[in-house]
Structure formats: C-alpha cells, structure tokens
Symmetry: D2
Subunit: 224 residues, 4 copies
Amino acid sequence: MSKPVALIVGAGPGISIAFAEALVKSGYVVGVASRNLEKLRPLAESVGARPFVVDASSANSIVELFQSVEAGLGPPDVVLFNPSARIRGDLLSLDTAAAAVAIQTTAIGALVTAQEAARRMLPRGRGTLLFTGATAGIKGFARSSVFAMGKFAVRGLAQSLARELGPQGIHVVHFVIDGGVVQGSEDLELFTPRAIAQSYMAAIAQPKGAWSWEIELRSNVEPF
Amino acid sequence: MSKPVALIVGAGPGISIAFAEALVKSGYVVGVASRNLEKLRPLAESVGARPFVVDASSANSIVELFQSVEAGLGPPDVVLFNPSARIRGDLLSLDTAAAAVAIQTTAIGALVTAQEAARRMLPRGRGTLLFTGATAGIKGFARSSVFAMGKFAVRGLAQSLARELGPQGIHVVHFVIDGGVVQGSEDLELFTPRAIAQSYMAAIAQPKGAWSWEIELRSNVEPF
Amino acid sequence: MSKPVALIVGAGPGISIAFAEALVKSGYVVGVASRNLEKLRPLAESVGARPFVVDASSANSIVELFQSVEAGLGPPDVVLFNPSARIRGDLLSLDTAAAAVAIQTTAIGALVTAQEAARRMLPRGRGTLLFTGATAGIKGFARSSVFAMGKFAVRGLAQSLARELGPQGIHVVHFVIDGGVVQGSEDLELFTPRAIAQSYMAAIAQPKGAWSWEIELRSNVEPF
Amino acid sequence: MSKPVALIVGAGPGISIAFAEALVKSGYVVGVASRNLEKLRPLAESVGARPFVVDASSANSIVELFQSVEAGLGPPDVVLFNPSARIRGDLLSLDTAAAAVAIQTTAIGALVTAQEAARRMLPRGRGTLLFTGATAGIKGFARSSVFAMGKFAVRGLAQSLARELGPQGIHVVHFVIDGGVVQGSEDLELFTPRAIAQSYMAAIAQPKGAWSWEIELRSNVEPF
C-alpha cells in the first residue's frame, strides 16, 4: 500500500512546518507550499517534505498547486490551509483595496483550496481538510476589522463544509489558535508549533464515529 | 434644529423600506440607495424617502453615494448596510470567481460603507451604524458556504467596529434575521418587515449607557 | 379594559425598581417582591408599585407570592425574575453547602417562577417572562465558579423556555447585563438602571412576529 | 515510578467504561465509581478497573469516595465527572423538588468532585479534570429545561475552572457529546463509547503548551 499524502498550503516556519514534520514521522508523504520557494526549500528539507510554490491570493495558482502535487505525490489525504493576510489599523486608516486583497487571500484562498481538496477526496469518500484559524475568528477585536472579517469568513466556510462534507466522509476541522505562537522553541510547556501540531495530529486520527469540527488551543497560562 | 438624516445602503422592498418608513415617521430625512434607480424610485416615494443609486460591489460607487447624500441631505446620523449576495450550491459546483464578487459586495461593501459613515460620524462623536445579518452569520449551513463566508465576515466586521467605535460614541449594531421574511404583509404577528423594523427603531433609541451590539430576531413560531 | 399586571421577583434598588417605575408610567399595575418587606416598602411606594414578600430560595414562598399577586392585582402579564446569589472565591475555599443554597435560589427559584408565571399565561396564550442574567452566564470567570453555575443555569432555562413557550405565545427574554450597574444616578449616558430599563420596556413591546430571546446590554465604554 | 491514577465518578456501561479501559491499557490504575456496586463490579472487572461506591447527589459521599481512592490507589492524576440526572417534560409538568435533586446531582456533584480533585492535584501542580457534557449544555431544548439547567451549569463550572486552575497546572476539559451514543458496539465508524474515548485519551495527552478547554464530538453523519 502506498503512503498517505498531505499538503500544506501556506507553509512557513511555524505550525505548518511542525505539522509537516509530525506527518512525515507518521509515514506521510508531505508537500508544503508557499509563495517564496527559496525560503521554503531549506525548511521543507529540514523535515523531509517536498516544497511547492503557490500564491494563495490567486485561484489559478492554487489549482495548479493541486495538479502538481497530485502528479508528483498523488492525491492528498490531508490538506491544511494556513495563510492569512493580517491588516491592522483604525477603520479610517484602512486601505480598502488592500483589505479586498487580504480577504481574497484569506477567504477565497481557503474556498479554492477546499474545492481542490474535495475534488480529490470526495471520489474516495475520505480525507481531512484543516484550517488554521485564530481567536480573531470568534472575537472581532478593535482596530482589527479586516483580520476579523477574514478569520470569521474562514470559520464560516469551515463550519459550512463540516456540515456539507462530513456525511460524505471528509473530516473538516477549524483550529482556533489563541495567543502568540512561540517560535524557535520545541518546549511542549509553551505555545510552540510542536505543542500545537500534536493536536493537529490527534484531529486527523479521530475516527469517523467521533469527530470534532473545531478545536481551540491555548497555553495553560494564556488568559481567555 | 435640522432634521436627523438616515441612509440605507442596499434598499429593496423588505426590511429596508419598512425601516425607512419608520424613520420618516419619526422625523428623519431618509435616503435609500440601490443599484436600480427605476425600481427604487416608486418604493422611495411611497414612504417619503429620497432615492439614490449605488453599486455595493464598487468601493467608488459607495464613496460617491455618501458624497451625494451629504450634499443633498446632510451627513447621516444613522446608516444601515443591507445588501448581501447569496450564492448557494455544493462546494464543487461553486464558481469561485462569482464567489469572490459576492464576498466583495457583502464584506468589502460593508467595510467601505462603515468607513464612509464613520468619516462623517466620528467628528461629531455620535451616530448609529447598522448591519442586517442573518442566521448564516452565526451558523454555516451545508451547501451555503459562500453565503456563510460573507455573513460571518460582516458579523466579524460589526463586532470589531462595535468595540472600536463604541467608546467614540458610534453605536454599531448587527441584526441576526432568523427566518424567511414575509413580504407584502404588515401583520406584526408574522415575521414581516414592519415587525422587524420596530426593533431597528428600538436599537437606534437605545441610550449610550445601555447598548446592544447584536440583536437576534425571529417570529415566535420559528424553530431555533 | 383592566390594566395589565407586572410582577418583579427579587426587587431591589437597581434595574428592578427602574423597570417597575417604567412599567407604572406605561400603565401597568406592578407588584414588586423581595425578602425584606421593610426595606422594599419605601422603594415600592416611590415608584407606585405594590410591595410583596418572597423568599426566592423557597419554592413554596414563590408559589404563595403568585397566589397573593393574582388575588391582589390579577394574573401577571409580565414577570421578571431578578435574584441571584453571588458567591465568589477560589475553588478550594468554597463552602459547597452554601453553593447548593445559591444554586437553589438562582436556578430553582427561576424555574419555579417560570412555572408559576406560565401557569397563568398559557391559558391566555400570551405574556412575557424576563430573566436578568449577567456576562457570567456566557463566560465563566476564574474564582467565580458558583456564580457561573447559577447564571449559566438560568440562561439554559431561559433558552429552553424560549423554544418551548414561544410558539404558545409566551415571550421569554434573557438579559445579559455586562458591567457594573451605576446606582443612584439617572444618567442615560452611564450604565444606570434607568438606561437599562429602557431595553426591558422595548423587549416587552416587541411584536410576536419579531422577538429577541436574548438581549445583551453594556455601556458604550465597557470593554468586551 | 508508580503508575498514574485515574478516577471516574459516575461510571456506567458507556463512555466511562470505554475510557476506563483505554486508561488501563495506557498504564493507569483506574477506579470507577457508581451508586450500584453490584452492577458496577462486573463492568469494572471486565476492563481491569477497581470498583467504588458513590452517591453523586451527596457531597459527603463524594468526599468519602476520594478518601477511599486515595487510600487504595493513591491521589488521582485524572478525574472524570460523568453523571447527569435527566428530567424531561413540559414546564408545567415538572416536579420542582425532583428538579432540585437533579441539579444537586449534576451541578453540585460536579463542583464537589472538582473540589476534591483539585485538593489533591494543586499541591502537585498537575492533573486533568474532565467533565462529560452534552449539546444540552450549549443549546437549551424545548421540554428539557431541567436538563439544560444542569448541563449549562456544569459547562459554566468547567469554563470557570479552566480559567482558574489552568495557570496552576490543572487541565480542565469539558466534552460536548452530541448525539445518541451507540451502546454495545466497538465500531469506530459509529458514535460508540470507544470512538469517543479516543478523544478523551487525546485530551489527557495534550501538552501544557497547547490545551483545549472544550471538545465537541459527534459522528460524521450527525446533523448539527
């Protein structure tokens, strides 16, 4: 039997790479994709994943990514959508054209990724589709309206798809990452990518009979 | 003292016109705006409101609307953003380009409207900014992922702005309209525009000391 | 036609008396009930309400209250349940017997009040049943576990009854009071009983076609 | 090093026994407690757990249970509170005395269990405290007001304790079990105790750096 395949859209030196590493250790063939292939390559190599290029603000680019991954690794069993464009500032200071691009990347990028993933999972009646969200997806903070719009939109998408695709065998999970992720450490007592990735792995291991559609994660000392 | 001014963006024969009528009866000068001026004119006249044209999918068009309203009626004290583009269908059947336009209209349209409203309200330290939302903004239904994305995004925007603008005197309210609105009736025992508009009027009457940022409305027989 | 009747269970110098005053001004005959009749009497007189005695921790006492009110004023059209026993402290410091009494007062008191109110409203197919809740009913704070239990329980009760009694014509509303109420002032720009009572009055005026089951209230400067 | 100890309060032939079995297989010494020792004994033996007696409606009985467990097995590292008294029926049909007993069992039982668990975990700065909740704890259904009160109360307690005890090293988790659990099957594709217990085990394995305070579980075909 061939190895299962995972694809991480919007990979960088954080949760996505820690998850890629855990997937590789569990026997997955893993593709990781981001805009800057040069930056991604050493990261990918360090965990044994295959680097791909993608511009999440472009639907065509996402479509092509899935074609390349399918050709190179096979159809993905696990797909994580990770990118989010963060724009901050008072309402009056916001550039609404930049806001539109941010929403396009975050929300439409998530939709296209979901579509391409489902296209390959539905015929086989199984697969896992993960979204990295944030507290901003359940609580709209002041001076963060565009980030709130994008993260709320992704959460709405994930919840809708959980209802739509679940009965067809696709497990959709939305992660609510609460707090600043501590980079450059592997300490499981801190809110590190590695501590977080453990729950991503637990989510993909949930049996069909008992799924979570949303998983909120924070360190034990994070106020909420 | 001059009359207060209200502007309804995305007016049609439903909640928006019933609200316009109630505002006029309470002494407001009311502008109502929609894409099709010919269809809007008789509706506007029937309730004593002034018709304006706007294409909510265009930021420029919204900016121009506010300029016209300010020149013709004065700076608005109350602004309602009402439009929403509804796309339904299985994930695989969705046209992602159409989805992007829908999000642009619903979410970015709401953002630009908020910005133009706040630009005129903040200097005076008061004003009310209303958003018509739906149950789809708090519950993502199957085969309705694009509608969920748009309505979740508007809710995230409204919540963020409630936190940001409230302390500066601007009351932001997000309405959750639950259930199919019964058109063509004025029966207050049914989920009619007129029954709903009564709570829009109550919201704008809330004193600064006790505001609601979200108001959920449904008929007494609507299951939830 | 005789005047409508309102009953406030757990009245004190705050929201309940401000609401009683607003009801009297709107033409209601109002009964207000609390444990200490001596303290209540001058408050009741000051707003034109009739004082009654009740011990909300005793089901029998609540049953007797409704009998007295029905005999003296008629069956109530509007009933507000207001009491809550507040116990604070670290988990290990809590007296669990006192906690049980607090839950009995807050949650079972609310249930018995609802039952006695519904007993008199259902035969007429109308009425309004209000609960004063708090942010503690939607967010369980540290060192406030007993208060959280009581307020969550009341919210669960209210939501269940909104679903159960709504189709039978009884409007059930749960208020989420967020922030410290400013006593001894009538300033509508502060979180005063009078500012809050305005939304209680708006709730009982909602037509059957467009009800809210929950209304969250906070001052414009309250962080949330 | 001695084996870790787990205690399940309110054990029966469902989630609790499946969880006990998984704990035993992972190397825990497990105590299971319920009212009827005769019924419990063969269940406990079948999974290698030690049976204890407890009446969850009595604070004293819970206190004594923890003393017995501590004496016999050692202080527990993991405690699950499982019982809930289910009373259904129209508001007017409810026996409020029975409702009070149900709340005492469900909510005060949970509080006393939490207190006894924390008393033994806080000095060691670690431990996991689990609550089995239900959809009724986040949605109050019609004709289920007493069940809603109890389950909302337990959720409020759990959320408050997650905030209070988390920074002191105690992991508090509230499970939302959505749907009818399929008894008598071990099929991981159905909503069976065994499928559910897998997520209980994943929760206790979460590292301190990335905890969930609430985990919602349902089968892939359960509508929500």
